[in-house]
Structure formats: C-alpha cells, structure tokens
C-alpha cells in the first residue's frame, strides 16, 4: 500500500506537466517559465489542499459516524470562506497569513455552531441532526458569501474565487499556511487511535478508555486547521472531503491507521486530476477545480452509493 501510494503521489505532479507540454507548447523557454512560475506552485498548492481536504473529510466522517458528512456539508468550509470574504469586502485584500487566521476563525465558528445546534436537539447529537444543522449553516454562509460578492461588482473576480474554489488564484499562500497544515496533520495522527474506538460507537469507545471530550476537541481542532488551510489555499472546494474517504475505505478498509494516510494521498491525487481536467476541458480558459469536482464527483458518488450499499462508518 505504501508503495502504491508513493507511486500515485509521484506520478500526479509530473503527468499534468507532460500533458500540458504535449498539448500546448513544444517551445522550450516559455514552457520553462510556465512550469516554474505557474505549474509547480499550483501543483504544490493542489497537493497541500488535497491532503487537507482528504484528511479533514475522513476525520469529519469518523467523528460524526456519518458517511455523508464532510467539512463542506457541515458548513465548515463555507464558514471559513465567509470570514475571509466579509473582511475582504470591508477592509480590502488581506495578506495570506491574515486570510489563514480568518479562515480558521470562520471554520471554528461554523463547526462549533453546527455541533451546538446538532447537539441541542432533545435526542442529543445524531447524524441526522448534525447534517441538518450543517446544511442550515452552509446555506446561511453560502448566501452571505454570494450576497457580499454580488454587492462588490468591482471585486467580483477576486471574490468569486471564494464561491467555488480554485487552484489558479492563490498559489502564494502556501508559504504562509504550511505550519497550520502540519499542526492539523499532527493532531489528526494523534487522533487516529481514538477514531478507531469511536468507530465502534461512543459507549464502546468510552469502555475502551477513550476520553470522548478530549478526542472530540482534538478532532475538531484538526478539522478546523485542515479545512481552514484548504480554504485559504483553494477556496471552499466541495465534494473532495466527501468523496476521498469513500475511495480510501474502498481501498484500505476501516482502520484509521491506514485510512488517514490513504485519504491524504487520494485527496492530493483527486484534486490534481480534477484541476488538470479543468484546464484541458475548457481550454484555452479553464474550469475551476471546485466546478470540475462537482461535475465529475457527483455522478461518481451516485455510482459509488448505488453499487455498494452506503457503508456504515
């Protein structure tokens, strides 16, 4: 598995470059510049954002024990985007680091809000109440982002990025946010044993010595850091966080010691593939990766859901 994973990751950054080479320019010099100044940072950004989305998705599904949960569906991505858009609309374009902090604040606020609403129901937190709360918060945040973007006609193009997610715009953010990415991944790794017990239900997890409070806090912190990083890098990309955990489970089974690394690898691979596809399909322009993922991902997910009974997590 480790070997297959490394092959997968290794092949992705190079194949889009080769495709690009073959399709567009046999002329060397511009190609060099294109690759060095645009393609390479964009690929790195895609890998980083993909890792974040994949791992955040797996953690979200693990903590909610819900096969249709992902940071996007739970309002976390949109919350992060809203925080950035709102501040940008009022105070102008921010530095990547400031955007990252805003993204984390928004993501944290949204996740806490969703968990609070989801838990406030009389029967406690069930997967259904959680998803409903997530849908409500997502709708609210999406509506507010759209409203702000439409009211700022001048800044439409920069802000539009925060509506669907793209790898094309924010390639300069990675140097500022990588520590958050590492912190999120570290927390995710530390969360793995607890996730493996939580998969057996909260009562069994407690019986096996997992402190629910500590495990949940670490999990929410990791999800917030990873989802916030992903949004800062690439905007609110839907579907990756939902799709990747299912692919990972189909590949490596139900053990989070394998699921988390596999989600990181598959997340990066999926995002790069979708981004490349978006550039090839709409040439000479491009479709942003968020649109491609929705268009390709949705039917794929339907097939997945129909082929095998939607799995219990």
């Amino acid at each position: 598995m480790g070997a297959a994973a490394s092959v997968c990751v290794g092949s992705e950054p190079s194949s889009p470059a080769q495709i690009w080479h073959a399709l567009f320019t046999p002329s060397g010099t511009t190609m060099d510049v294109t690759i060095r100044e645009l393609r390479w940072p964009r690929t790195l950004t895609g890998i980083a954002a993909g890792i974040c989305l994949g791992v955040a998705g797996t953690l979200t599904q693990g903590h909610t024990r819900n096969a249709v949960a992902d940071p996007g569906l739970l309002g976390i991505n949109q919350g992060a985007a809203l925080a950035i858009v709102a501040v940008t609309a009022v105070a102008g374009q921010q530095l990547p680091l400031v955007q990252a902090v805003l993204a984390f604040a928004g993501a944290l606020l949204a996740s806490v809000l969703v968990f609070l609403i989801g838990t406030a129901s009389r029967h406690g937190q069930t997967p259904v109440t959680l998803v409903l709360a997530g849908a409500a918060v997502t709708a609210l945040c999406t509506g507010l982002v759209t409203g702000i973007v439409l009211l700022n006609a001048a800044a439409l193009d920069t802000l539009r990025f925060w509506q669907v997610g793209s790898l094309a715009v924010r390639n300069d953010a990675l140097p500022a946010v990588w520590p958050f990415l590492l912190a999120g991944l570290l927390l995710a790794l530390l969360n793995i044993p607890a996730l493996n017990t939580l998969a057996l239900g909260e009562d069994t997890a407690t019986s096996l010595g997992t402190s629910l409070l500590r495990a949940r806090c670490a999990g929410i912190a990791a999800i917030t850091l990873l989802a916030g990083t992903a949004v800062t890098l690439a905007g609110p990309i839907a579907f990756a966080g939902l799709l990747v955990p299912h692919l990972a489970r189909a590949l490596v089974g139900a053990d989070y010691r394998w699921l988390v690394p596999a989600s990181a690898v598959l997340g990066a691979a999926l995002l790069l593939l979708a981004d490349t596809a978006g550039r090839v399909i709409a040439r000479p322009g491009e479709l942003s990766v968020g649109v491609v993922l929705a268009v390709i991902g949705a039917p794929f997910f339907v097939i997945l859901a129909r082929r095998r009974k939607l799995v219990t997590v």
Binding site: R122, L190, P193, N196, T197, A199, L200, G201, D203, T204, T206, S207, L208, G209, T210, S211, R249, G253, A254, D255, R257, V311, T312, V313
Partner: protein, 269 residues
C-alpha cells in the same frame, strides 16, 4: 435479603442516575460479587440498563457514586478504568468491512500508547481471545457477515482482549434465537468459570438468567427489590411483585435451578 452486604470490587453507593431531568434510579446501593456471574432482571423501563451504564461510567451519577476498588470512578482516568472493567452496550455496531480480528484487536486500545502500537504481546492476547470465543476460523471475516450469535461472540471477544477483570453486558442476547442465546450465555459462564471474570449482565429471560447466573438482582422502578441466589430471588411472590405476573416456579431438570412457568398476566381475552 436486599441489604446483605457482599464485599466486591465494584460498588454503587446511594447512586442516583437519570436522563433529561428525570431520575431513573435513585439512591441505589449495590455491591457486585467478585468472580461471580450476576444477572439483573426487571420489567422494561425499571432502570436495569441505566444501572449498568452507571456502573460502567457511561452515565455520570446525579448523586452518590460508583467505586472500583474503593476509588470513585469519577476520580479515575477512563483509560485506567478500561483496564479493569469493560462494558458491552446493547446491540453495538461495527463499521463496514471491519474484520473479526480487527474488532478484537481494538480491545487492546487502553493498553496501547500512541508511540507504541501493536506489539507481539498484543497479538498473543488477541489470538487467545479469539480462541476462547471459538472465532479463530472466522478471524478474517467481516463482522457484518457473521450470524447474530457469532457477532455477539466477536464483541465479547473484544472485551476479553481488553483483559479487564470485570465485564458488564447489556442484554447480550437481544435479537438472538434461543440456540444463539444459549451459545452466548454458555460462553459468558465459561469466561467466569475458566478465566475468573466477574460478570454483570442485564437479561430479559428470567429462566435463562436463573440458569446462567450465581447471583441475581431484581429491580423495579429504579430500586432493587431483591437479590441473592437464583433460588432465593426467583419465586412466585417476587414475579408477582416485580413483573405483575402470575407464575409457577419449578426446578428445571438438569441442575434444579428455578424455571418460570407463566400462568398469565391477568388479562381477559
């Protein structure tokens, strides 16, 4: 009979438990007999599952306390408790694709550190737990493909791998046919006889409970009405008082344990 104090590692002292502002159990005191199988019986909603959750620290007390070796559970780390006591909830569920061996391995969680995952010793304990529950042949099968009885055996096997001396089982025979119920109860009694495990289990079937336990606790409306040996507890008077059931109690032919013959609940049809 009710007040008979038995020394035990696990005790409930003036325990009050409840959900949503309603007390289910109030002021209950119980000492779980060590190295014995204790069965808790009582009508639906009498609080027997709630008591088990309280004993297993899945539900924190409103007042009173549960002690393990004299220490209140609230003062002990949940991981330390997990090395001494294991709780199996009613109808637990495993994620798709999880194999029996994976499930049983997770019983090792309280004894593992994040920097030191699965060791050879862990592997040996898991193999032993699988053997004790007769699941070695099914180790690589997904849990969801097992029969009800096999699945329950797999979960019990996980608690065995936990190597905790005290085992709390919440209705381990729910949804099982009679043969599978007996299969699970035989296993539970074997764990007690061969491995010296202390077992507390909530059961619905009084005759099966009497057959497979050493000590019985009868509950009604959140209180303990009677406890003692099966012969002491399972009497026509008690069945009338606790369940409102007119019944005869006869000795069953193998070991002479009390067997309940229901006469009817007094309904005219």
């Amino acid at each position: 009979m009710t007040e008979l104090p038995l020394p035990g590692r696990l005790r409930a002292e003036s325990l009050t438990l409840g959900y949503d502002g309603r007390d289910i159990i109030s002021g209950l005191t119980l000492s779980v007999p060590d190295a014995k199988v204790t069965a808790v019986i009582g009508p639906n909603g009498c609080g027997k599952s709630t008591l088990l959750r309280g004993l297993g620290r899945l539900l924190p007390p409103r007042s009173g306390r549960v002690t393990l070796d004299g220490e209140p559970l609230a003062k002990l780390s949940t991981r330390h408790i997990a090395t001494q006591l294991s709780v199996l909830p009613q109808t637990p569920s495993a994620p798709s694709g999880l194999t029996v061996a994976d499930l049983v391995s997770r019983g090792r969680h309280p004894r593992q550190k994040w920097y030191q995952q699965f060791s050879g010793a862990d592997q040996a304990v898991v193999a032993e737990a699988l053997a004790a529950t007769d699941l070695l042949d099914l180790a690589d099968h997904p849990v969801e493909e097992l029969s009800g009885g096999q699945r329950q055996r797999a979960w019990i096997s996980m608690t065995l791998a936990q190597e905790a001396g005290i085992l709390l089982l919440d209705e381990p025979t729910t949804y099982l046919d009679l043969a599978h119920q007996v299969e699970v109860l035989e296993l539970v009694r074997g764990l007690n006889r061969r491995h010296g495990r202390t077992v507390v289990m909530v059961l619905h079937d009084i005759s099966l409970a009497a057959r497979y336990s050493d000590h019985m606790v009868a509950m009604k409306a959140g209180r303990i009405v009677a406890q003692g040996t099966p012969a002491e507890v399972v009497t026509p008077d008690l069945l009338q008082e606790v369940f409102g059931l007119a019944a005869q109690v006869v000795p069953e032919p193998t070991e002479g344990r009390p067997h309940v013959i229901p006469l009817g609940a007094g309904l005219r049809v």
